[in-house]
Amino acid sequence: MSEYPNLKFKQVNNSVTKIDAMQLALGKDSYVADFAPPDALVVKMKWSPYPHARIVEMDVTEAEKMPGVHGILWHGNVPRIVHCTAGQGAPEPSPYDTFMFDTKVRYVGDRVAAVCAETEEQAMAAINAIKVKYEKIEPVFTVDEAMAEGAPIIHDEPEAYVPIPIPYEPKKNLVAQVGCEVGDFAQGMKDADFTFDDVYETPYAQHCPIEPYVSLAEMSPAGRIVITTSTQVPFHCRRIVAQTLGIPVQQIRVIKPRIGGGFGSKQEILLEDVVAMFAMRTGRPVLWQFTREENFRTGRTRHPIRVKIQAGVKKDGTITALGMDCWNNTGAYGGHGLTVVSCCGSKVLPLYRCENIHFLGKVLYTNLPVGGAYRGFGATQAFFGMETTMDKMAEAIGMDPLDFRRKNHIVSGEGSPIFAALGEGKEGVPMTVGSCALGDCIDQGAEAIGWENRTDWREKTGRYRRGMGAACLMQGSSVPHIDMGGASIKINEDGSFNLLCGATDLGTGSDTVLAQIAAEELETSTDKMIVYSSDTDMTPFDVGAYASSTTYLSGEAVRKAAADAKGQILTTGAEMLGLKVEDVHCSDAEVLNKDGTKKVTYGEIACYALYQKNQYQIIGTGSHFTQKSPPPFAAHFSEIEVDTWTGQIRVLNYISTIDCGTAINPALCEGQTEGGTLNGISYALTEQYLFRNGRMTNASFADYHIYSMRDKPPIKAILVPSYEETGPFGAKSVSEICINGPAPVFNNALYNATGARLYEFPFTPEKVLEAIKAVKK
């Protein structure tokens, strides 16, 4: 484990107050809908009622004439430009298989036509007046149906193609395929004393940010399109809107204000092309806000993945073989399918030492809602299988599950062949693990839960039985060699700074964290930073908030920009003091000589540089792309109580330990961990998509269960420090890893309580009861 160097942090590793917290607590105008002018037109979309159909006829003439209607968009009056809606670096590792409006619909919730009108009521009336004739096609609802011989082809359009050299066979409904082999997997299985071969199914889920998808577009006085939108990816948004509308990037400005959560759902360009087109054609501001139903039915989701785990273990605890096969149901469009399934392998297989590894991931189209980026991004699904299998292996050889993991997990200084073999759309990047405090995570978590009090399920009796479970986890920090972020920082007369960065704050607090990093580097205080982020006209580029990269990647860009500015401050400060640059240093917003007898404040330096002599703008810039993706590590523990008469599970407590390197803002790190953990808990226990003929039937919070304050178990986040040399002030990442724990933790706890194991979730009481009934003592 990397030791903390003997540094005294002044700004980072402090729970500095989140910069926008009071603004939000006071209810000040902050979110997209708050900025809609009173004369904004509203958009409504006609969604496909069928999972798979051709549009053979459409008549919008009556609808166009209806009162209050300012425009209708449909396949007959928009450019037919094939593209991808997933927000990723260009060219995207995804098929270009989407049109703004197509002559085919591929899931219940696919776009048919859009109306903009003065009021919602008028827009809905026009929606209902659009006449559409469909020719239904047999739908495909599972990966098995998708792969079957003679299956209906979901993407038969000639334009669909993939812009990078990866496998794409739409005639077989195959979106992508990726795999790797290390050592001799077959031999590894033969060498084992115990082998395992199980299939795990993981379900649909929706991110449920409390702010639904929403987007506003207006024409600026200069005739450019200004899109204010709830997005995680403003720069990808600008590029993709330009591409889809067939207009230059220069014509478009994208601004992300405060947004009400994303969790990956808003790493997608789902609304902005429509509002932009309407703004262009009508000249009016245009607002499109999804209803909660639309968020569920038509928005992006978690990818349901079938994960087959094969493993071999020796009596001494050596893992001789690990095999993972994944079938990823990406729904009607390809988007994030490949990168998610890649992460099933790349973010899970390196966790444990093994010389013989097999991985194969396939991505299939179906006529169901479209998987997108969702916190965890494939690792969540694969860890369910992996961490259940680890417990099964430990049981087989009679070893405590924690000791088994302690014996096998990767440690500081070690690498894994998987890092080089599996990237995201291309080959990965070889890496040795720098910081790793997983051992401490396991120890601290075990103590907090009372692991020593754990007893065997065979000793348990009675209706209510308690059990403890654990899981170890990893994730990544940024996508190395692919993603980039930039920042600039300029000084003002009072020693304050404008920090401009592309990095995207979803409510995660990245504006604050980046301000802390800048302040630490600049030797000033966080409250001197005025942060402005995520505006494609005003801020430098950043890929956006995903892949747990904002602290590790964008943070380093900010640190570099701050260092650049600091150099200028030192030069000017030295000039003002009549000293050589080598003889001065920065401390507490001042430039001073060695013994502190001569000094000048940052404010004085600013005034000098802006107004007085040898004038120039002190401004630092920096960009960064990463060389590696250092994993955060975590060990999760929980004790549950199972009602063996009804199958209901009650979570008594949950411990989430986390090694995120230096916690730039400990309170925010805890907040991420607590929030992601609770999301993982309801994903494991109560969230599900119920379908009838491809249509989600439970599209409201009344029927799709996420937890309230009354439901939630006590969750304790424990930050376990380490120091990542390659990260800004030792930081890695924190936001995704925590959601990976609950499903396998509860599965392991269920086993400890009752001897039952599940191979799919959510753990409905019926499934739990059936599994309990099947237990043989």
Partner: protein, 165 residues
């Protein structure tokens, strides 16, 4: 079908006001249209709580209530709670505790908590959870919101106990 523009009069954040409305208009739409945008749209179905306002001191979903149902009554929104110079205790505690992430649920949480503090004398965990069970948050896992709320309620309970003597 004739649509008749009508008015509705109610006390809003302490001031008696008359607004143009329609029978079908929801209170949330009226409030946001009139510039009170601290109250949010999250679901429109009466399930998420981001639209919570106080109606005669009780927390209600303004997305479900017709504006006309507020006639002659007392409505309070987040705009009546605290300022930058003088935030409420709960607002201060939320900010201090790191409980505000995306912030979208927070105005609703504050309104429900306000009703709790004004209505109850003691604040057992069970009662607090019942008052707060209609405000969903997806970011925080509720831990830090609960911590801030507990701090403020414990102070409030002590104050009420003292006043009762």
């Amino acid at each position: 079908m004739k649509k008749s523009p009508q008015t509705v009069t109610f006390t809003l954040n302490g001031e008696r006001k008359t607004f143009i409305t329609e029978p079908d208009e929801k209170l949330l739409a009226l409030l946001r249209r009139e510039g009170y945008k601290g109250t949010k749209f999250g679901c429109g179905q009466g399930t998420c709580g981001s639209c919570t306002v106080l109606l005669d001191d009780r927390a209600v979903y303004s997305c479900l209530l017709y504006a006309k149902q507020a006639e002659g009554r007392n409505v309070r929104t987040i705009e009546s709670v605290g300022t930058y110079e003088n935030p409420s205790e709960f607002q201060e505690e939320l900010v201090k505790n790191g409980a505000v992430q995306c912030g979208y649920c927070i105005p609703g949480m504050i309104m429900s908590a306000t009703s709790l503090m004004e209505t109850e004398e003691t604040f057992e965990d069970e009662i607090v959870k019942e008052y707060m069970d209609g405000n969903l948050c997806r970011c925080t896992g509720y831990e830090k919101i609960w911590g801030a709320l507990r701090t403020v309620l414990d102070k409030e309970a002590a104050k009420k106990a003292k006043e009762a003597k």
